[in-house]
């Protein structure tokens, strides 16, 4: 064979080789140079996994710096499924491990079931990169047991995690609110996924995140919520962590603290007094045929008239925020919201509206000044006295509205009633006349606008109510505030037009005005509005938006925002008007027998500490609102200390305006007034007892069970037992409940 032929043929495979190399170079150039960016983007997505690190939520602090809500570190048993799988346990071995784990927890004093642990470990809401909580509040012993025996408990760890804790238990629960896991709807509304986070939206929500549900926790969610950190891991083809990209790690930033205007001691006092007064009210015997004093619910609010700050805001019944941290079950939810159960979640101070009853007379009496009603028509002029025969028959009554005869709440006959006395002893007939006068003499708003001084405004009472902040949301920093209702002829017409069956009458009757004049009928106010209205009168006409939040403070202690007083509107009070009305309000508490002020007994209780009216004069008004088929609402509004130049007390200005509304509890003078008197007594004397912390409550409860003090010393500082004690257990001490009610009369 001639070697020449193969040499020629060699060229063939040379050409093949060259073409194959050209193909490889071309493809390589395409992948690595032309299309590199696409592949590089894929490469990054391939290997990076972002994991969020939770940030501690901000605290909620009272006006004096006491922490009301903070984060407690608790032991959480977690599982890392990646490590767990590496151990390659058979199903049987895995089950045995969970049984061992449950046994260890139970031995150390916890209470779990092995099946629950296994189920929690299977939670599909978590990725394998996360530490999945499978048991909360596990005893400290587990730190050692699990930590030192990794072979026995593969993938398990006990980590410390922050959870919401409430040093003062349920005190202030309605203001504080509660937190819980974010729901699908809330997540949807937050409109930002974790991946889409950016400068403008640095802390979007993810599933399982904690979110405020009510109260401050809800309204200041953005401030309280910390900015989660992130850790970026490089993972391999099966998701195992190869390394952490440390340069991309972002540390979590704790949320801001919210400093309230609430003083927790005052708050605790208000809550205790409210619960106690309702309990006492239930013991009253109704007159034959009258409804029972069920006294199921109530609210009291204390506002500082000088700046609108809310010192206390109590609502009864209440709830335990600590019980709701780990989620609200359907039963709990029903329990909290059920009307039959008096909706404990409801913050009655801002979310319930009531007829203000005679406390409304502040508005009516002032309206009568503004529209020159005194001395007009059937209304006596200032200084003129009339008898109150406990009933009044409207003039020229057409009977269409159903009634022309209006009856006082009681049938007591009062004498020498002028403006001051009408307030001090609460004469209704005096105000029937004013209401009637507004209806009969009032001109339309248009006519009134043309001649404001000459003509009476038909809506004079309603217009004046606006000055005091009724019928509108006051803008307190709490969610779901109600506006209440100040009825007008227009409104009545509108409601009739919208729903003729529910509102059969379109016309505004004289009787409507008469009812309005004494705070009955459709008029609805919240306890906060009532307190704030009296604060407005007390400070001389400045209507402020009440506030519960004083400051927002950053995690480093720097004040981020300082909430000053917010003035909504103001009006100048003519001393000619201010004098008689205030005298009337002072008379309510000061005027003794024979015709005593309605709250005179409450402030002159025979037993107990005498109220220092000389140093701390209280101006007030009782109210008793009628409710269909139910016992009366017991109402009281007061403020003090009020200056009384006539006794030489000039250097004071009112620091407290208090309103109390107790449902189905009877006369304002009997229930609400004594309660407010007790609260104001403590405030006046500077003797507000310190609020009882949850730990102290636990200790007291335990001491009741077993009075051996040595045992108490053995209790850990953060005794978990607190949550297992029924709310108010300590206060339900029978010895305490038998104590004589104070200020009855």
């Amino acid at each position: 064979m001639d070697i020449a032929a193969p040499r020629v043929r060699l060229r063939l495979i040379g050409i093949v080789a060259i073409s194959l190399f050209v193909a490889m170079f071309a493809r390589l150039w395409f992948v690595q140079v032309v299309d590199a960016e696409t592949y590089q983007a894929d490469a990054v997505a391939n290997i990076r996994r972002k994991v969020a690190t939770p940030a501690p939520r901000g605290r909620i602090i009272d006006a004096v710096g006491r922490v009301l809500v903070e984060n407690r570190l608790t032991n959480v048993l977690v599982i890392n499924r990646q490590d767990f799988r590496r151990a390659r346990l058979s199903d049987k071995e895995a089950q045995a491990m969970f049984v061992r784990l449950a046994r260890e927890i139970n031995r150390a004093g916890g209470l779990v079931k092995a099946d629950d642990l296994a189920a929690a470990a299977d939670n599909n809401n978590f990725t394998d990169l996360e530490r999945i909580p499978i048991s909360w509040d596990v005893p400290d012993d587990l730190l050692v047991v699990v930590g030192e025996r990794p072979d026995e408990f593969p993938g398990m760890a006990v980590v410390q995690q922050a959870v919401r804790t409430y040093p003062y238990g349920n005190i202030g629960a309605h203001v504080i609110g509660y937190v819980g896991a974010i729901t699908g709807g809330e997540l949807e509304r937050s409109k930002a996924s974790w991946e889409a986070r950016d400068e403008e939206n640095p802390k979007p929500y993810r599933r399982r995140d904690e979110i405020g549900k009510t109260g401050i926790e809800l309204l200041f969610e953005d401030q309280l919520r910390g900015t989660p950190g992130q850790r970026v891991f490089e993972v391999d083809n099966v998701g195992n962590i190869v390394r952490e990209l440390v340069e991309e790690r972002r540390e979590p930033v704790p949320g801001n603290d919210i400093v309230l205007t609430i003083d927790i001691d005052v708050q605790a006092l208000a809550e205790d007094e409210l619960a106690e007064s309702l309990r006492e009210a239930r013991k009253q015997e109704p007159d034959p045929g009258e409804p029972q004093f069920a006294a199921p619910a109530g609210s009291t609010v204390i506002v500082d008239p000088r700046n609108g700050q809310v010192l206390a805001m109590a609502s009864y019944p209440t709830f335990e925020p600590a019980d709701l941290i780990d989620g609200v079950s359907a039963d709990e939810w029903k329990q909290l919201n059920d009307k039959a159960n008096n909706s404990p979640i409801l913050n009655r101070a801002i979310q319930s509206t009531y007829s203000p009853g005679s406390t409304w007379k502040l508005v009516t009496s002032y309206a009568a000044f503004l529209d020159n009603i005194y001395g007009a028509g059937n209304v006596p002029s200032i200084g003129q006295t009339i008898p109150d025969e406990s009933a009044y028959i409207l003039q020229d009554c057409d009977e269409e509205s159903g009634s022309c005869r209006f009856q006082n709440a009681g049938d007591t006959i009062l004498v020498g009633i002028n403006l001051v006395q009408s307030l001090a002893v609460s004469s209704d007939t005096y105000y029937y006349r004013i209401g009637e006068a507004f209806a009969r003499r009032g001109s339309s708003p248009e006519e009134h606008a043309e001649n404001p001084d000459g003509l009476v405004n038909k809506d004079g009472i309603q217009e004046t109510a606006k000055l005091f902040g009724f019928g509108r949301k006051l803008g307190i920093e709490l969610p779901n505030e109600k506006a209440g209702l100040v009825p007008t002829a227009e409104l009545k017409q509108q409601r009739h037009d919208a729903n003729p069956e529910a509102f059969p009458f379109a016309r505004w009757f004289v009787g409507d005005n008469v009812n309005l004049a004494i705070g009955q009928g459709d008029v609805g106010v919240t306890p906060l509005q009532l307190a704030n209205a009296y604060a407005t009168w007390a400070n001389g006409g400045t209507l402020r938006a009440p506030s519960v939040v004083g400051q927002i403070v950053g995690p480093d202690g720097e004040v981020i925002q300082d909430f000053g007083p917010r003035v909504l509107s103001s009006f100048e009070i003519d001393p000619e008007h201010y004098g008689p009305i205030t005298d009337g309000l002072i008379g309510v508490t000061h005027q003794g027998p024979p015709q005593q002020g309605t709250a005179y007994p409450a402030f002159h209780s025979a037993d107990g500490v005498p109220f220092p009216l000389a140093d701390f004069p209280v101006a007030a008004k009782t109210g008793t609102a009628e409710v269909n088929d139910k016992a009366d609402t017991s109402i009281f509004a007061a403020y003090g200390p009020v200056a009384r130049p006539e006794i030489g007390l000039v250097d004071v200005e009112p620091r407290y305006a208090v309103a109390a509304i107790l449902e189905q509890a009877g006369f304002g003078s009997r229930v609400a007034a004594p309660m407010v008197a007790r609260i104001m007594l403590a405030l006046a004397n500077g003797e507000v007892p310190p609020a009882v912390t949850a730990d102290e409550r636990t200790a007291a409860y335990l001491a009741q069970l077993d009075p051996d003090p040595a045992l108490l010393d053995l209790l850990p500082d953060d005794a978990v037992l607190a949550t297992t004690i029924p709310p108010g257990a300590a206060a339900d001490d029978p010895a305490e409940a038998d104590a004589d009610p104070v200020g009855e009369g």
Binding site: M1, D2, I3, A5, P6, R7, R9, L10, L12, I13, G14, V16, A17, L20, F21, A23, M24, F25, R27, L28, W29, V31, Q32, V33, D35, A36, T38, Y39, Q40, D42, A43, V44, N46, I47, E234, V235, D236, N237, V242, R243
Partner: protein, 393 residues
Amino acid sequence: MALAPSRSQVYRRDRPVLWQHIDVGVITMVLGITAIGVLMVFSATRGPATELEPANTSFLVRQIVFAVLGFALMGAVAAFDYRKLRALSPVLYGGLLAALAPLTFLAVSGAAENLFFAPEVNGIRAWYRLAGAQLQPAEFGKVVVIVALAAFLSSTADIDMRRLLLGLALVAVPVGFIYLQPDLGTILVFIAITGGMVVVSGVRPRHLVVVLVLLGLLVGAGLASNQLKAYQLARFTAFLDESPEDQLAIGARENVEQAQIAIGNGGLTGTGLFQGTQTRSELVPEQQTDFIFSVVAEELGFIGSASLLLLFGLLLLRIWRIAHLAADTFGLLICAGVFSMLLFHIFQSVGMTLGIMPVTGIPLPFVSYGGSSMLTMFAGLGLVLSVHMHRFS
């Protein structure tokens, strides 16, 4: 006056004449390629290399050992006069069949998977386990077949149809054994070697057509039969199907896509040695063996991977030149065989990671981790060097 011997005279006298004709080009290229390979195997196998878990060096050490052994083997083979192999070729060929037969028998009879001396790996029974090392007779078989086929094709001046068919049969017997094991990649290498050598041997063009038709039928029949493993077929077809539906094919497609992401991630300059994120995350399967080129491309970039290809190209050029200079047809055909073997290995291994060839696992010569492949490739180069060095003797 006695003249001192010139420096060159001393030099010449001290060195054996044989090594004077060694091809430095081949040595340089192969050393460069092997060095890159050792580094890349280390990069592919060192693991995350954290403080807690130091880099895994076991693959590195073994690859270095393989390379040193291979280099020594190349030297030994080069020193041996290739012409003596003509007489030895029946012995070598017989030895190959004797080594393949037991594995084939075990594969066909379906013996225990974990048989200690001949375990089954990925459904293939192609390895012997000897004193801790795994030997793959089919690997060495490539070189044996090159020698045997070269000896057969160069023994007569003219290659007629009968001779051609006999030559093909010579290859078909060991290929048949391997087919039953079944090792698809290796079979393709044999086909490539045979094709290259037959073309170069001077077979008449019309006979070549016959060979091509025969090969086509054979491949068709092979693919149609149930002999090949499902995953082998799936990988093979995945190359053609952009969005396969079969699970196995999807897996194969994903492998190729991951390899291309790694390669693309390298870009022009690469991520840097040991810095390849895809490599570090072991996202590409078999990255230290069949897919090693993705590691090179990711960490060294286009510049590095193209340089590696360039080194391969230059190595092939040297081999091609040695074939051209060969003293006889036997030597020339040996070189053509080794050339074809290397070319196919390179194109298949690189082409697979680049997505221009089907997925079937064969190593990238001198780069992929593995002793059998390393020794085979060095032995092949040794043959080429021998042809070069003995061309004047």
